[in-house]
């Protein structure tokens, strides 16, 4: 379950120039789904699709839905936020809100979640990252989100992947080290590709199919972000960017 085997390498005949067997990278040309359907891989690329959700300390929403907006729209956020960003390419790259574009398809092999620590600056009406150590989160707040939130990939109103936020690490990020006398630093798992569980059975999203990544807060109780001393940090924002990792089909023209 640690390898996607998406682009398997095989050993070819001996290369006369090097005297060594050549290693051949095999492109996928066809994917056979579990139900027997076959999908020809033409015009497919390993291109993540991503969408961002902002949450402010104390948020109580039962669920927040990513992939429901495209560029220019207000991004998904908890209902207690007063400052709302309009989506740019840093928030999302999907073409059609809430559904796969009619000319696109996706085979999802993993959900990779980036976590960023920001703050709501009401004086300047911006969401900023200018406090010490930001946007790297504190470990206790990442753990809090892992314990309290369930992430779900929903396609055509059916739940597919469903597990705690901890289940879906980004698999990349700054590989930090050393120590500081001012604060701790936390990361969602390790900043390595090997941190990610690639689904043994990928999930297919067809053209025009409705889909969302849902951040559930099943108890509906306040998720309060805290300083490392345990005090409430009322302006703290945690921004989650969900990346659907896998093969993405887009039109060539």
């Amino acid at each position: 379950m640690t390898s996607s085997a998406c682009f398997p390498v095989t050993q070819g005949p001996v290369d006369p120039e090097t005297g060594q067997p050549a290693l051949v990278l095999n492109q996928i040309t066809k994917v056979r789904l579990a139900d027997g359907r076959e999908v020809g891989i033409i015009d497919w690329t390993w291109r993540p699709q991503y969408s961002t959700v902002d949450t402010l300390s104390g948020w109580t929403d039962d669920e927040l839905r990513a992939f429901q907006y495209s560029e220019g729209d207000p991004i998904a956020r908890s209902s207690n936020m007063t400052i709302v960003e309009n989506a740019t390419l840093k928030h999302t790259n999907i073409a059609s809100p809430a559904e796969m574009d009619a000319t696109e398809e996706m085979l999802v092999y993993a959900i990779c979640t980036e976590v960023y620590f920001l703050f709501e600056d009401n004086n300047n009406s911006v969401i900023d990252d200018s406090q010490a150590g930001q946007p790297i989160p504190l470990p206790n707040n990442i753990a809090r989100l892992m314990e309290r939130c369930i992430v779900e990939l929903e396609i055509s109103e059916k739940a597919y992947q469903q597990a705690s936020l901890g289940w879906f690490p980004p698999g990349f990020g700054p590989m930090t080290a050393g120590s500081s006398d001012t604060r701790q630093y936390g990361q969602h798992s390790v900043a390595s590709r090997e941190a990610v569980d690639m689904f043994p059975v990928p999930t297919h999203i067809g053209g025009t199919e409705k889909f969302a990544v849902i951040l559930h807060n099943p108890n509906g109780t306040a998720i309060t972000y805290r300083t490392e001393a345990g005090a409430e940090d009322a302006d703290a924002v945690h921004r989650l960017r969900f990346n659907l990792m896998g093969l993405h089909k887009r039109p060539t023209g």
């Binding site: 753990a143 809090r144 289940w167 930090t176 701790q184 969602h188 390790v190 043994p200």
Partner: protein
């Protein structure tokens, strides 16, 4: 590239995994610092009581939500329209506390990070004194291992300051723990997968051979628990509609 379309079991049976997904089934139990009975994960569904827990009111047990389990029905039995192939199990540990997050250890062990992060000493105590066994079809024990044998393989990677502490005016360092490494790379795959068929009874038992976990430190908070949330790793068949 081809997906698995046929699986042949050791006894020769062949199943065709139409509509199989890799979404895990999960279930939680709560571990306290006093005397402990066996706790059974996967023994309840949403709306049931979480084994070992205590309700926020202090009376009765916590009612399970989607945070605790995604099992349907009464628990202990897999739904008639589902099947599991268990390639491994992952156990996350979380500190649960109703008390103030400051001075959680009341000076006796000033190494406590802000819950739900678990103290390293407590993780080691749980790993030392907890056995986990997978029971399928009620009577057969398919796996019996110390809890630490089944790492979470995900969690928070910490970079700690040299003088950061939760407990004592920031004069001491925090000491955090995880159940194993925090990367998928740290996951343990079973050499042979275990099958749970439709309608079959199964559970995961947390047993405490010494009757308790010696030294488990929750300070003055008698309602504190360590939540162990266990995930089935592998593939799972669910209805399409």
């Amino acid at each position: 590239m081809a997906q698995i379309t046929k699986i042949r079991y050791a006894d020769g049976r062949v199943v065709r995994p139409g509509d199989w997904t890799s979404t895990p089934l999960y279930s939680a139990v709560d571990i306290n610092s006093g005397a402990l009975q066996n706790l059974l994960a996967f023994s309840y569904g949403e709306g049931g009581d979480v084994p070992g827990s205590i309700a926020a009111s202090g009376t009765g047990q916590r009612v399970a939500t989607k945070l605790d389990t995604n099992m349907k029905g009464q628990g202990s039995v897999l739904a008639e329209n589902e099947s599991l192939l268990i390639y491994g199990l992952s156990i996350e540990l979380y500190q649960r506390s109703a008390a103030s997050t400051v001075d959680f250890f009341a000076g006796t062990e000033a190494l406590m990070p802000d819950p739900p992060v678990v103290a390293g000493t407590n993780v080691l105590r749980v790993q030392r004194d907890t056995l986990v066994s997978l029971n399928i079809a009620s009577t057969k024990e398919y796996l019996k291992v110390p809890l630490g044998f089944l790492p979470a393989a995900r969690g928070v990677r910490h970079v700690l300051g040299s003088s950061r502490s939760q407990g004592s005016g920031y004069s001491e360092g925090v000491f955090i723990g995880q159940n194993g490494g925090v990367s998928e790379h740290d996951h343990r795959l079973l050499a042979t997968p275990q099958e749970v068929g439709a309608g079959e009874a199964f559970n995961l038992q947390f047993a405490f051979p010494f009757g308790s976990i010696a030294g488990l430190e929750f300070g003055d908070d008698s309602t504190a628990r360590i939540t162990a949330r266990v995930y089935q790793r592998g593939i799972r068949r669910r209805p399409v509609a």
